[in-house]
Each structure stands twice: as C-alpha cells, then as structure tokens.
C-alpha cells in the first residue's frame, strides 16, 4: 500500500502545545500496523509538498505573525490540494489562520487564508481548561473528544458550516454558541490540544483511514489510550 503522506507545516514556529505529539501518534499508529508513513516538514519559503494530510499547529503570537504572510502565499496550493481530496488538521493558531482574519485587541488584523469561512476576534479573557466535546464525523457513530483549550480568540463560523463537535465542557469556539472547531469533511480545525490525538485514538485512526482512503484499519491495543481518555473525560 502507498504510504500516508503527512506535511507538517511550520513545525519550528507552530509547536507551542506539544503539536509534535500529534505527529508522533499518527506515525506510531501507522508503524504499529506495518503501514508506511512519510512526514515532510514544510517551513517558510518551502513549496507546499504533495500530501494526504496537512498539519498546522499553534504558535506564540509573535511566531504566528511571522508565518502568516508565508502561509498566504501557499493558500492557493493548499486549496487545490483539499479540492483534490487532501485532509487538513489545524489546531489553535493554525485553526485561526484557516479563516479570513484574526482581529486583535487594538484592532490590528492578521489575515488568514480563507480556506474555511470563519473569523476570529480577540476576547478579553482567555478560555483555559479541560474540554469535552461530542462529535459525529460519521453519521450514527458518535464519539467523545477530550483535551485542553487555552485561547483568547473568539471564532465564529460562517453560515452553513458545522463545528467539529458540541461542547459538553469548556468554552469552545466563542463561549457562546456551544460549538467547538470546524469540520467540513476534509478540513478539521479545533482549539483542542493536549495534544489532540493521543487521548482521542478514534480521531487519529479516522485521519489515517481517510488519508489512505481505506475502510478499515487493523485494531490496536488501546488500553492506555482509553484509560487516559476516560480520566480526561471526567475531569
């Protein structure tokens, strides 16, 4: 079988909440099943590589400003890749950059790539704490997603867009509408880190399955993952 190709965008700039844990989980879960996986780092000035899954993490404000310009230059290529079936997973700052803009406290704007119809405005209070979401990426297969959020941005989705999940615990996109993240079928954006994938192996496997275009994956011993998930769901 062909390898799962992961492009890790700006790993040196967008890595604030242990984002490489997400990559480690995808890599190990493929390796444990004997599946090949290729991870390509893509930094400022690099051409966007061909990939099945593009990953964007979160950075400090300063690092985000540094790479926002560069990412806009890659926006058209990323949009074509998604149109051709590639997946995007973006967390925290990376999630905000998928939208139209981020407006800060003093009105300054950082433009995003408008891959998804959403925008973010800085709030006056950070939303920090454990998060529990109810998700249903595949109809009839509800799942629980757990993690941690730490963001000042309030994100609003455009009309017709669906959140990644509904908030059971935590602030979510904006602390008001009960939604968290965004899910378009190919693109997932979320504020949930912790990192996102280790305690949510169902989502890691959904990404691997969808990225490879296969219906099933060999099951793994997820005893520790499920125990960590349970602990986090009850915090």
């Amino acid at each position: 079988m062909k390898p799962l190709r992961i492009a890790h965008l700006y790993p040196e700039h967008l890595n604030i909440y242990a984002d490489r844990g997400n990559i480690a989980v995808l890599t190990r879960r493929c390796a444990w099943r004997g599946l090949d996986v290729e991870v390509t780092a893509c930094g400022p000035g690099d051409a966007l590589p061909a990939a099945d899954l593009y990953y964007l993490g979160g950075g400090q404000d300063r690092d985000q400003v540094l790479i926002a310009d560069d990412l806009r230059g890659k926006g058209d290529d990323l949009r074509s890749a998604v149109d051709d079936g590639a997946l995007v997973l973006a967390v925290c700052g990376g999630y905000q950059l998928l939208g139209h803009r981020y407006r800060g406290h003093t009105g300054e704007e950082m433009r995003g790539i408008s891959l998804v119809d959403l925008e973010t405005v800085a709030g006056d209070r950070r939303m920090i704490g454990n998060v529990v979401l109810r998700c249903e990426l595949e109809p009839g297969k509800p799942e629980t997603l757990v993690g941690f959020e730490n963001h000042a941005g309030r994100t609003t989705l455009g009309p017709g867009l669906k959140p990644l999940g509904t908030v059971v615990r935590g602030g979510g996109n904006n602390g008001e509408d009960g939604g968290e993240g965004v899910y378009t079928g190919r693109v997932i954006g979320t504020y949930v880190h912790g990192p996102l994938l280790p305690k949510n192996p169902w989502l890691a496997d959904w990404l691997i399955r969808t990225g490879l275009g296969v219906d099933d994956l060999e099951p793994l011993d997820d005893g520790l993952e499920l125990e960590a998930h349970q602990v986090a769901a009850q915090l």
Binding site: Y17, A18, L224, Q230, V231
Partner: protein
C-alpha cells in the same frame, strides 16, 4: 497595629501551622502578613544588614540558591526561603523567620520576580534561563520575558545582574543593564549534535532571524549569534571549561571567574547543574567577593536539593528522586539517566494540579524516546498516570513493561519490579505526595526540614 505586632501575629501562625503538622509554615505567615501590611517585603528586606540576592529561572532556581548557600554559608549568616516557597508569601515568611543580622538569599518564581525585586531591591539579581513552562499559568514565554524586561529597566544602576549569556532571550533582557556578570559554558566538546525539539528561543530576540549556534549545550542554551543583526553571545565573565561528565555521579569542569581558574568536581550530574554552579559562584563573587577557590569548596560539599537528584534507599533499592516540570528540564533528566548503561526501573508520577500545570500536553514535548530499549519496568501514577503511561508507550517502551498504579501503591509496585536502579520522576505536587509516603516510612525528612 504596629508592624512589629503584625509580624508577631504572623509568626504565631507559623508556629501553629508546624505544630498541627499541616506544613512547615512556609507560606501562610507571609500571606497573613502581606494582607495586613502589603509592603512587608520591602520593610523587612531593608533591615537585612548584608542586603540580599535573588535567583530566578524556569529551571534550576532551587538548586542554584542552595549551591549559593553552600558557597556563602561558611562566612555569612543567611536568610533563605530554602523550602522552595518562592512566591511573595514565601519570601515574606522567610523574612519573618530570618535574623536581621543576615544576608538575604531568595529563589523567586519567574512570574512573581518583578514584584519581589521591586520590593526587595536586591544587590544581586541572578537571571538563569527562560524555558517554556506551564503555559496555562504563566502565559507565553514572551509574556514572562516582557515582565522581566520592564523589571530590568527599573533596576537601580548599582544592582548587579548575573545572567546566563547562553540564553539569547535572557541575554537580550539583561544586557541592557549597566552592571552585569555574564556566565556561560565555553566548551564546544560538551555540545549537543543539534537543537532539541523543545528549543524555545531559537529566533533572534532583536530581529526574528534564525540564530546560528556554534555550540548547543542544553535546550536553546549555547554559543549563539544572529547572522542578521550582529548580536552574539556576550564575552563570558564566569565560564565553565573542560566539562566532563561522570555518569550519574558527578560532573567536572574548570571554573573561570575573576581572572582565576579552578577545577571543580560537582557531586551532581548534568550540564544543567554546571549552569547552576556557575550562577551560584558568580552570585557569591558579586555579593560577597567569594573567590573561585572558596566557591569550589562550597560546590564540592553540596548535596542535592529536595527532589533534585536526591538519592535515597527504599527497601535496599538504590533510588533517585528527580523533579520534572517542563520539557527542557525533563529532557536533561532523561539524557542524564540514559548515561547509565544499566536497565532501569522508572516510577513516573504526573499530576495536573495548579502547581504542576493543569495542562499536561508538555509531556509530549519531552524527548522520552531515548528510553526505548532501556526500561525494564515502568510504573506510571498520579492524577494523569494513564496519560503518562501512554506517553511512554509512544516513546517506544513496550506496553508489557508499563503499568498504571494508584499513588498509594506506586512505590511498592516499582520496588517490586526490575533489578537495576529505580528512578522516580515526578511533577511538583506528586513529589510532595511521594515524599510524605517516604517520610512516613522514615526514608526522607519532611521537605521543610530537608532544605
């Protein structure tokens, strides 16, 4: 109420706290006093005849302060917050208990530092390092750095700032001050092959260009320069040369300070302890004119601070207690452990209480991967023990070698398995819990006595 009466009330509270066994009275009396008298740190601090020195850093402040105490104590009576209570309340408590005929030596939390320094006006301020740590509590690294920058701008010109020149962020903060002592490592043979994943400050604080490292010693600490704006590591006033590690037992280096050079054998392992020792020696010299030779005596007789490479025996098993609290510190702990070729047993305790950081994602920024193939048995415990166990599995430790156990039985589970040394890696509040257990067995003293 007069100040002396307020202080008296707070001292009675300290005695009561110790008597009821609720703790060492290391924060409560200060908290009480600060509520009655918000400028208590300033008032009490002024009465210290020898003035004071303050140490802050993300990693190593407790050890550095304890090393400085070992260097100064033969000739100076010290007033210290030795039990690690390093917020305003802890400093005020230490000042209450301390003798006014003393010199102050305080380790201070990096977020509390600007307020404490403003109140205390120390003669010497040691700025050790800034690493990513507990983002949910401190905010981004840049936020802490900005607070330090404003603090340094407001310092009296005769305050000596002893700073780690190998840390580009700390250097950019400290070097604006007129009276500085730059310390660092000057030994390319001790360098790492590359910047670790968790490196935090690899961009120029001035212009944002990627820094070039001629040598990386630990995290983002090293001999650096900016290829764009011509800033580089300052010439070192206190340097460690010829650094040679001796497994888990010791590290040797040549201390160059004030025009003299002496060979030091530090009875603790790790590059991070070389930095701590340099900071302590430079502090002693700046505060009290301690010579490198006298600094050597203090450093060589040093014993580890609470949970910082503390050696104990549990049921005949050689055990080492190591505090882990952020990626840079934990990476160095892992690197040091892996210098011991024996297969090891691990007890890793991960809590997510406020003092540990509620967000445990940092364990995924730690390079636990070098443990692959080295661990005979691992017990994970704490409020997030399962998550820690899972992290070890993704680092390559076989799942069959990993168990999750409740805190109450974790020590027994760990001592019952494996044959080699037992390494206990824990977050802060988990260390307190485990030490209470060990103290009940008569193995370690309570933390407020041990310091």
């Amino acid at each position: 109420m007069l100040f002396s009466a307020k202080a008296g009330v707070a001292r009675v509270a300290a005695a009561a706290s110790r008597r009821t066994g609720r703790g060492g009275g290391t924060t409560l009396p200060g908290k009480l006093l600060l509520r009655m008298q918000p400028d208590a740190i300033s008032v009490l601090g002024r009465s210290l005849i020898g003035g004071s020195a303050v140490v802050s850093a993300t990693n190593g402040k407790t050890t550095t302060a304890k090393m400085a105490a070992a260097i100064l104590e033969p000739e100076h009576r010290l007033c210290r917050n030795g039990a690690g209570a390093n917020l305003e309340s802890g400093i005020a408590s230490a000042l209450l208990e301390g003798n006014p005929a003393a010199t102050g030596l305080f380790e201070v939390d990096e977020a509390a530092l600007p307020a404490v320094v403003g109140a205390l006006e120390p003669r010497v301020l040691v700025l050790g390092n800034l690493f990513r740590d507990q983002l949910d509590r401190y905010g981004e690294l840049e936020t802490v750095g900005a607070g330090w920058r404003r603090m340094v701008a407001g310092l009296p010109h005769d305050t000596t700032v002893v700073y780690n020149a190998d840390d580009p962020l700390v250097a950019s903060i400290a070097s604006a001050h007129p009276a500085t002592v730059a310390f660092g490592i000057d030994d390319p043979s001790a360098a790492l092959a590359a910047l670790p994943h968790a490196a935090d400050s690899k961009w120029c604080p001035g212009c944002g260009a990627r820094l070039v490292y001629d040598a990386v010693y630990l995290g983002h600490l090293g001999a650096w320069h900016c290829p764009n704006c011509d800033v580089s590591r300052a010439p070192l006033d206190a340097a460690a040369r010829s650094v040679v590690g001796h497994g888990l037992d010791a590290v040797e280096f040549r201390l160059a300070l004030a025009g003299e050079e002496v060979d030091v054998r530090l009875p603790l392992p790790g590059t991070y302890n070389v930095y701590n020792a340099l900071a302590a020696a430079a502090l002693g010299h700046s505060l009290a004119g301690v010579t490198p030779e006298r600094a050597r005596h203090g450093l060589e007789s040093f014993s580890a601070a609470f949970g910082r490479f503390e050696r104990v025996e549990i049921g005949g098993r050689k055990t080492i207690l190591l505090l882990i609290k952020n990626p840079a510190g934990a990476n160095e702990v892992v690197r040091t452990l892996c210098s011991d070729p024996q297969p090891m047993t691990l007890l890793v305790a991960l809590n997510d209480r406020i003092a540990d950081g509620r967000d445990v994602s940092w364990i995924w920024d730690v390079d636990f991967e070098p443990l692959e193939g080295r661990v005979e048995h691992a017990v994970a415990t704490g409020t997030r023990g399962a998550e820690m166990a899972m992290r070890l599995a993704y680092a390559g430790v076989p799942r069959t070698a990993i168990e999750v156990a409740p805190m109450a039985s974790a020590v027994d589970r760990a001592t019952a398995s494996g044959s080699g040394p037992l390494y206990v890696l824990t977050t802060y509040t988990a260390m307190l819990e485990l030490r209470h257990q060990l103290a009940d067995r008569g193995i370690v003293r309570p933390y407020w006595e041990a310091a």
